[in-house]
């Protein structure tokens, strides 16, 4: 009897398991859907991207940035190939950084318009960032391109200023880690980003220690004259030798192999390869580095391989590190710097590090030798402390006055709590970046522009933003940021299509392109069904997306499938290194 019972039960269990298996076929009904090659699964990816301070479309959107799927990293994740796109990006890339601003802007706006029409990426939202801070702090004006470490220099009203921070890894040298929190400390210590730095309006200009700069006509030679008497926080003068040293340091082959370094050197200077080769041969030969030419203590000249609009920001925005502190008898030992100095750099910026306690805080004091930032401002706040605070209680700490600043807040409850407190105030600005769905434009259903446009009208993005972000967010129309000097809200309003939810428009676009609704209510053409499979990094994305597309087949004739997958797997797919 018992045996029979056990047999029955195990049979039941087995059928249950088989049944389960049958219930969850991932590809059910996909027979008519266009299949993707190379083991690719998704037609698009929902994710967020931050933009760089200086726009560099070439690196992310040019067709040069595509490699065969599965064979290498493609930073053009949409795999977008369009002749006009390439042309405009090259026009921007090759614009003269000093005299070609208007041409650059015209090309940029045309490019944004093209992206808005072609829609390789459909923007979903931009956060409304809030910097919440102590109301006693005066003259504290922050923007995404002029953040608190820059703005604190001209602020007054406090003796000690404490910024709350989620974490930092203690790597206060450039070249290790991309943490924005570590970079805040770098900005305080080095002041601006190098020979060229961003101003409070987001423009690029000569940094505080540069007296004047000029370029040759072909833009390949850049000459910088340094101010005399600028000193590092240990009292040693900053000279052209330190500037040259910085370039030697980051071109040293030991930098590329030093533990955990970013291992790439985005410098495009003449002779850099020869210098690196001489180091590898045993003795670094600075004479071989012909692109770096120290003329005297206060003058240095650079020669670049290729003159680009972004040259000033990519090649001359490197924090200058002092030669005497980072070498022994003139010999560079990157591994030694990494091991012993990484958390206690010396710079010529407004503040110097006085104490760093791992996982807890960094304390900085005014650099007494500092004579003024890019706008000539000198800090008056004696001490700046950057403290690790837990997310759970950070807003309570701000209200209680334990910390003076929480930067870049997006959560509704946190922002509203701060707004309700009379001791606090805030600056807000749109995120310098955006959340989006990027489509695979080379293969699958989303290779059709009409489908991508139809999806634009089939997604209720306004509702999505409300569900995803609450009250502090907005809908954007393309891969741009209105924080850039090239573009503003009025232009966007006038020139870009706002894809707002409109089922009639979906039908209009698809039917004009020859798509017909099938028996299942989904548009189809030449055996392809309008069914898109989108990968998301978490259920935070899939939940609101599923809500706004719950009745999409009945209402718009497009079938949406949103899958929450591990973010690292999503990245494998997006950058085309996934091996199915």
């Amino acid at each position: 009897m018992k045996k029979i019972l056990v047999l029955c039960l195990s049979l039941l269990l087995a059928t249950g398991l088989v049944g389960c298996d049958k219930k969850a076929p991932v590809t059910e009904g996909d027979t008519a859907t266009t299949t993707l090659p190379d083991g690719r699964i998704y037609n698009g990816f929902a994710m967020a991207t931050s933009l760089t301070p200086q726009f560099d479309g070439y690196s992310n959107w040019h067709s040069d940035m595509i490699q065969p799927f599965g064979e290498g990293t493609s930073s053009n994740g949409a795999r977008f190939v369009n002749e006009k796109n390439d042309e405009l990006l090259m026009e921007m890339r090759n614009a003269n950084p000093l005299t070609g601003k208007d041409a650059y802007q015209a090309a940029y706006l045309e490019w944004v318009t093209l992206m808005n029409e072609e829609l390789p990426v459909i923007p979903l939202y931009a956060n409304d960032y809030h910097d919440l801070y102590n109301a006693k702090l005066e003259g504290f004006e922050t923007t995404p391109l002029w953040q608190w470490p820059e703005a604190i220099v001209s602020a007054t009203g406090l003796e000690t200023f404490v910024a709350g921070n989620t974490s930092f890894s203690g790597e206060f040298y450039e070249g290790w880690g991309n943490s924005a929190y570590d970079n805040n400390i770098r900005k305080l210590v080095f002041g601006g980003t190098g020979l060229m730095s961003v101003t409070n309006t987001g423009d690029l200009d000569k940094n505080f220690f540069v007296d004047e700069y000029s370029t040759s006509e072909d833009m390949k030679t850049w000459n910088f004259k340094l101010k005399e008497g600028i000193k590092f926080s240990d009292g040693v003068e900053l000279t052209a030798n330190d500037v040259a040293f910085t370039y030697y340091f980051y071109s040293d082959p030991t930098f590329a192999s030093a533990s955990g370094s970013d291992a790439y050197v985005p410098i495009n200077l003449v002779g850099q390869d020869a210098y690196t080769a001489s180091c590898e041969a045993g003795a670094c030969d600075t004479a071989a580095f012909t692109g770096v030419n120290v003329i005297n203590d206060y003058e240095i000249e650079f020669t670049v391989n290729e003159a680009l609009f972004t040259t000033a920001s990519t090649d001359f925005s490197r924090y200058i590190i002092p030669a005497h502190y980072n070498s022994v008898d003139g010999v560079i030992n990157v591994e030694d710097v990494k091991a012993n100095l990484i958390s206690k750099p010396i710079g010529a910026g407004p503040y110097k590090i006085t104490e760093y306690v791992e996982g807890q805080f960094v304390r900085l004091a005014i650099n007494e030798y500092f004579t003024g930032d890019i706008h000539g401002d000198v800090p008056t706040i004696e001490n700046v402390i950057v403290q690790v605070v837990p997310d759970e209680t950070s807003i309570d700490m701000l209200i209680a006055g334990e910390i003076d600043l929480l930067a870049g807040m997006v959560q509704e409850d946190v922002i509203d709590a701060a707004k309700a407190d009379s001791n606090l105030t805030f600056n807000n600005y749109p995120r310098h970046g955006y959340g989006h769905i990027t489509f695979q434009t080379d293969e699958g259903i989303t290779r059709h522009t009409a489908i991508r446009q139809a999806i634009g009208y089939a997604l209720d993005r306004e509702t999505f933003v409300g569900l995803f972000l609450g009250s502090y967010g907005s809908v954007t129309q393309g891969p741009y940021s209105t924080n850039y000097w090239m573009i503003d809200d009025a232009w966007v309003e006038e020139n870009l299509t706002n894809y707002s939810y409109d089922p009639a428009k979906v039908s209009e676009i698809l039917e004009a392109d020859g798509w017909v609704k099938g028996t299942d209510g989904v548009y189809a053409k030449d055996g392809e069904r309008a069914s898109v499979n989108i990968a998301c990094g978490s259920t935070d994305w899939t939940d609101p997306l599923n809500i706004i597309t719950a009745n999409s087949i009945e209402e718009t004739g497009i079938e949406f499938k949103f899958n929450s997958i591990d973010f690292a797997v999503l990245q494998d797919h997006y950058y085309g290194i996934y091996k199915g």
Binding site: M65, S261, E355, V357, E358, R363, Q387, E402, A568, D572
Partner: protein, 346 residues
Amino acid sequence: MENNKTNALQEFFASVIPIVKYILKRLLYMIPVLLIMSLIIFLIVENMPGDPIWAYIDPETPMDRMPDLDLLREQLGLVGPLHERYGKWLMRVLQGDLGMSSVMRRPVVEVLPYYIKNSLLLNVFAFILAFFISIIVGIKSAVNRYSAFDNFWTVFSMFGISMPSFFMAMLLIFFFVIIIPIFPFSGMIDPRANHVVGSLPYYKDLAYHMVLPVAVTCLGLISSLVRYVRNAMLEVLKQDYIRTARSKGLKDKVVIYRHAFRNALIPVLTLVGLYVPLLFGGSVLVEKIFAWPGVGNLLNTAYTQRDSQVILALTIFYSMLTLLANLFVDVSYALVDPRVRVGDGE
């Protein structure tokens, strides 16, 4: 005289040698166990979805500025067939190289001690306090079973066990930081104060910052420990020899503390042993809420940011501690409880 001495020595060795033998044998047994564990953990970490390379580079790095991914993979030991990689990894670990932390960008061996030290600091105080209170309260509860005192602690235990530690932490912060601001929110020391490390005010500040996290850890521990001690004590009080002791006319105190308590200690000792690994492992939630830079916090970051080498190192470390703690418990049984003899029979 001489004979007596040698006899005593012989006896001592006779009693110690089996224990030493036993310990050595157990240590030998640990080797295959650890190997199997390391293999399992390695396989799990290896099979995390996605390319582990993303933990080392900024995903938004444009293609023309990407480092040489193949070179990086090779440096990080991510190339080659699985068994080969496991072999290489094992060899490195045996040589004391636990790999590179992708979050900290430092060797794991350099990262761990600081975080372990901080967790230990918090836990040693919490554990000592918790055991001390639990033993006193447990005995009193058992002796005065169903009294108001016992009932109070029973309710307290239930409350403490069912209350998640992060909720307890938030509750304490709410009452003792926000409503009545007597303790600090979080951290180990006040960065505004600028204390000299190692000075008296520094230690005072540290102690002040420890109160709440220690209290939360302690409350959680007491809740379960009190029940154990109470039950162990009740079990012993039922025994015949206690009745005999009582009927001999011994004072209550003598009966309880000399006869009953020592026997009740045995199960409690098991607990002490099993809690040892926890001493080194921080509580993820408590450390996170109090921004305490301990192992729990480190593990939390490692999990969320796929720091595979840190996860591997910490998991192996805990496995080893647990095995050692088990051994410690078994050996101490033999020392405390005359009924248990090691090395006999089998």
